[in-house]
Symmetry: C2
Subunit: 330 residues, 2 copies
């Protein structure tokens, strides 16, 4: 397996991607193509002098699409950016997958333009694995398409079903449509239409679910539009962050509680590991004719390493072939 | 002040509303009209035999609109429900405000039909106060209107501004529009249109905010459509709930951590009190010609008591007059 890694994506910068790539080579034995500023990448590789250089090659791409840049415009203008150059390598079939922690909109746009959609799929969707009370669930879409049609939501169901079966190894994933209430009569016309399409399909669709069901793990797959999915992810991160900061503040005012906090450190760390997004390794951009994995902008080297693993599994398991097959069945 | 309380709203049932009403009489001295099944209410009052009966009257309403019932249909059919009967009392100006922990959709529908909208306001919005890192912020709308137009979002800004000034005592509340990114170019056409309306107004609008900004307290007022707002609230509750359950589970496997947990109990309780929705007392249904406060279905007596307080303050401060005035200014 040969995976392309955008080495100018993450917020911290190239060091994260280089470190993640080295870890992936050591752990999985994959070949890696790092795409970005050659001098910077080589400096980072040199620093680590790890003897995996034969497994890592570098392709120069001098431009970086910044996080705040408008997606379509930057992809058109920055033809020498790490995202555009990296995806072109995938398009030429010179590698098996692509990983980027860069500007999500730009990755979606460049991937759609260069790799194209799978036959029959109208729009891509980002499927992210999240920790729940009972294990792992998937939310699709978390931001590839903020204004989808009902048909797109149905197709998200098909795509996430294949992803769940072949990457997360769930045999008959339960699918829920995110709504403001469980009753079929609830929601906007758009959501009701999606409900009808999902109900009439052969997918294991259990109906509407509410925001409170997501982390309970009521379903394996949560379907929503990319606007709502994006808000859910960011709110979830922020709620946990705020809660932790507030409890720390509270504990600091009380010496006994400070001792208590020390005593629960191990449990807290164990939980944090379970809840760690980095463990799940990036979110596949489903619907694209290729294995394209999007990582969080603030990814750690471990997150990059895991994203590389997912990219390789995505290709090995031939998820895209299964999506095309399922689209016909369902 | 005389406040009507729907005594058949909450999930637990009449005992909660009766207890909340008694607490409100004792604490604030308001008169309360309890609306619902007279026999049940009187039994609950009798049980408590508290000597506040002169301040509490009962109006019989034999029907209950259940939580799962479709809003418009149930309001039309159940003319003798506690929600419909209660709001009719407010319409006849025989009281100063109305509180319900019942079916939110039914309250919105019945209030819109019987009390009508304020002049110039097109749609109602539910404004809920939430705890943040820096204090309290307001999210509007959390479910009155799941498919609003851009103009409605602008009007939410005006209404929440008045609510913040006169009930939450914030002198110049900062307003943010919830979006998938901070840049003006982000979002659906609908959101961009709302952005333009808010920018051109005289409101203290700081632009787009993201899901992660809500609990940081970046703004005093978060504007979003009712679908997104509903999801945010339910996801937030669920994230905290899940996190607490998972850490408890983790701690139970470790005796040292169990001692630690005991030692931080005081801090945890202090934080819970700060984060307690019940403290903020219900969410006003803004835009309606009347003081109509919606409480969580799982309200405690304290939450009902606080909702009664907010209903009275809403009337005392004449928030609706300020909304009409601000609509002209902004």
């Amino acid at each position: 397996m040969r995976i392309i890694v955008d080495a100018m994506g993450s917020e911290i910068g190239t060091s994260v991607e280089v470190e993640g790539a080295i870890q992936a080579v050591k752990e999985y034995g994959h070949d890696i193509i790092l795409v970005g500023d050659e001098a910077v990448i080589k400096r980072e590789l040199h620093k680590r002098g790890t003897g995996v250089h034969g497994k890592i090659s570098v392709i120069h791409a001098p431009e970086r699409i910044e996080m705040h840049e408008p997606a379509a415009l930057s992809v058109r203008r920055k033809r020498k950016s790490s995202i555009v150059v990296g995806l072109e390598i995938l398009k030429r079939n010179e590698a098996d997958g692509f990983v980027s922690a860069g500007n999500t909109g730009a990755v979606v746009c460049a991937a759609t333009l260069s790799l194209r959609m799978l036959p029959g799929i109208e729009r891509p969707g980002i499927a992210i694995a999240i920790p729940t009370m009972t294990g792992v669930s998937v939310i699709i879409d978390v931001g590839a398409n903020i204004d989808p049609k009902a048909l797109h939501l149905f197709q998200y169901g098909v795509m996430a079903d294949a992803y769940c079966r072949y990457i997360l190894h769930k045999s008959n994933p339960k699918i829920g449509l995110l709504n403001v209430g469980e009753e079929e009569s609830k929601g906007t016309e758009f959501i009701k239409e999606a409900h009808t399409l999902l109900s009439e399909s052969k997918l294991n669709f259990i109906g509407n679910i509410e925001g409170r069901d997501i982390y309970v793990g009521t379903v394996d797959i949560v379907i929503c539009d990319g606007f709502v999915g994006n808000v859910i992810l960011k709110v979830s991160e922020s709620v946990i962050d705020t809660l932790v900061k507030l409890i720390k503040k509270e504990i600091k005012t009380n010496p006994i509680a400070m001792i208590g906090a020390l005593l629960i450190t191990t449990s807290w760390k164990a939980l944090k590991k379970k809840m760690d997004y980095a463990e799940y390794g990036g979110a596949p951009l489903l619907g694209i004719d290729g294995a394209c994995i999007i990582s969080h902008g603030s990814s750690s080297p471990k997150a990059i390493k895991n994203a590389i693993r997912v990219a390789a599994e995505f290709k090995e398991q031939d998820v895209n072939k299964h999506i095309i097959e399922e689209l016909e069945i369902y």
